[in-house]
């Protein structure tokens, strides 16, 4: 799977996320409180609302529409109404850039 240059590390605040669209797909890229980077599918598995407007709390992302939460490190659905896990993708940083493997 190819590594895609998604954004600069500085584009994402600590404990926050951004939206990244690529090749007709949409992703969410996270920066954790300890400055690790993670990537999941961009849409909540409950009703396909984009997570980019959601709230990152430590290692969880909360959907902005129905407050479903996921562990963005593992994709695990932690709180209803989400019952299906998010897909996750490998992430690495090189020279101040965030690359995702999709």
């Amino acid at each position: 799977m190819p590594w895609i240059d998604a954004c600069a590390t500085d584009d994402i605040d600590s404990e926050d996320l951004i939206r990244f669209d690529h090749d007709g797909r949409t992703f969410a890229i996270y920066r954790s409180p300890d400055d690790e980077f993670y990537c999941t599918d961009g849409l909540c598995t409950h009703e396909q609302v984009h997570l980019a407007d959601g709230l990152v709390m430590e290692y969880e992302i909360e959907c902005p529409k129905h407050n479903a939460t996921f562990d963005y490190r593992t994709g695990e659905a932690r709180r209803a109404p989400a019952c299906v896990n998010l897909n996750i993708y490998r992430v690495k940083t090189e020279g101040g850039r965030v690359l995702i493997e999709v």
Partner: protein, 359 residues
């Protein structure tokens, strides 16, 4: 326009899909990400403070009511207790269902379970129904929580001020679920993997109510039921009063909360009981903002919202005549005027769904 069919399985549900109301993007006022992150930030403090006040008052009032029973002097005490049990618990149920009241999850979950019991709303069923309410707010055939269906049934609305219809339905549904069954409409929005939880809670509640009723029989007094169960009836009026104002008389089948929801300025006591849900446009537009930050959210976006109603009385004076007009013409609704600073949104879709607003 044919009469509305509010069934989740009826023709209006199909029509909502066909007209694009479900696939549509709801309107949101632009607000900078950093400001929104700050508004969404969770905090245990306000909800712990309010919960201590609420439960402390309930214990004190119930204790006083029991001590004064059966004197008439206990009446005002029960009325106050009832409002906390039968109305304040409605807002606690609501806010904790969103998971926004407390920062700590187990605190949200504990209060959610207690409040669900008090309001006779199965916590699992209603979590899903409320999610649907936020997905398809006041879209006929999709939203299972439309309080005022058109044409309005005034007898039902007034009876609900005493909890009669809703509480009765809650208890009947509890007994039905306790037999191991779900209503087909429930099954339409509760995932199969979650359905057993509905039944488990219903059975636990039946045991609790059975214990309270047995205690009342043994004691030869309704006093146990004055503490648990009956306050859902005699204390319901406040949450019905505020709840009807949320969407009553406004547009249905639109995808802009400014047109189908109502923000009302209220007195501090009602705001405590209602946990600031008087900022209802704001809540629907940004449901992740905790109740204690809604006044700030209101200040941040009010330039883009219709003018709020100035008081509960003024809001009822606006809504009640509109409901009366809907008796004769169920297509009548109050069209919200947006301020000149507001962005218009999807007039095309709204005209197709609504026709022209009655003046």
């Amino acid at each position: 326009m044919p009469r509305r069919d509010y069934s989740m399985l009826g023709p209006d549900a199909t029509r909502a899909i066909e007209t694009g109301l479900l696939a549509a993007q709801w309107y949101h006022t632009d607000i900078p990400r950093n400001q929104m992150k700050d508004l969404m930030r969770r905090d245990d403090g306000p909800a712990i403070r309010d919960t201590i006040i609420l439960f402390g008052a309930m214990v004190a009032l119930a204790g006083t009511g029991v001590a004064l029973w059966p004197s008439l002097w206990s009446l005002p005490v029960w009325l106050a207790y009832g409002v906390l049990y039968g109305s304040a618990m409605d807002s606690r149920w609501h806010e904790c269902s969103h998971g926004t009241a407390f920062k700590t999850r187990w605190m949200n979950d504990v209060i959610y379970q207690i409040a669900s019991f008090c309001m006779v709303r199965n916590p699992h069923t209603w979590r899903w129904s409320h999610a649907r309410h936020h997905t398809d707010t006041i879209i006929v055939g999709r939203d299972p929580e439309i309080a005022i269906m058109r044409p309005p049934e005034f007898a039902r609305l007034i009876a609900n001020f005493f909890g009669v219809v809703d509480a009765w339905n809650g208890w009947v549904r509890m007994l039905y679920n306790a037999t191991g069954k779900l209503h087909p409409e429930e099954a339409s929005y509760i995932p199969e993997a979650e359905q057993h939880k509905v039944i488990r809670v219903a059975r636990i509640w039946v045991l609790i109510y059975g214990g309270v009723i047995a205690l009342a029989v043994v004691a030869g007094s309704i006093l146990p039921l004055m503490v648990i169960g009956l306050p859902r009836l005699y204390g319901a009026w406040h949450h019905v009063m505020t709840g009807l104002l949320q969407h009553g008389g406004l547009a249905d089948n639109v995808i802009d909360h400014r047109l189908n929801s109502r923000t009302v300025y209220m007195n501090p006591v009602s705001r405590f009981i209602y946990w600031n849900m008087n900022y209802h446009v704001e809540h629907h537009m940004f449901p992740m903002v905790p109740y204690h930050r809604l006044p700030e959210l209101h200040q941040a976006i009010k330039h883009d919202l219709p003018a709020p109603n100035r008081s509960i009385a003024q809001a009822f004076a606006e809504m009640w005549p509109a409901l009366r007009r809907q008796l004769k013409n169920e297509d009548f609704f109050l069209k919200r005027d947006l301020p000149v600073t507001a962005k218009p949104y999807r007039e095309d879709l709204h005209h197709a769904a609504l026709g022209t607003a009655a003046e």
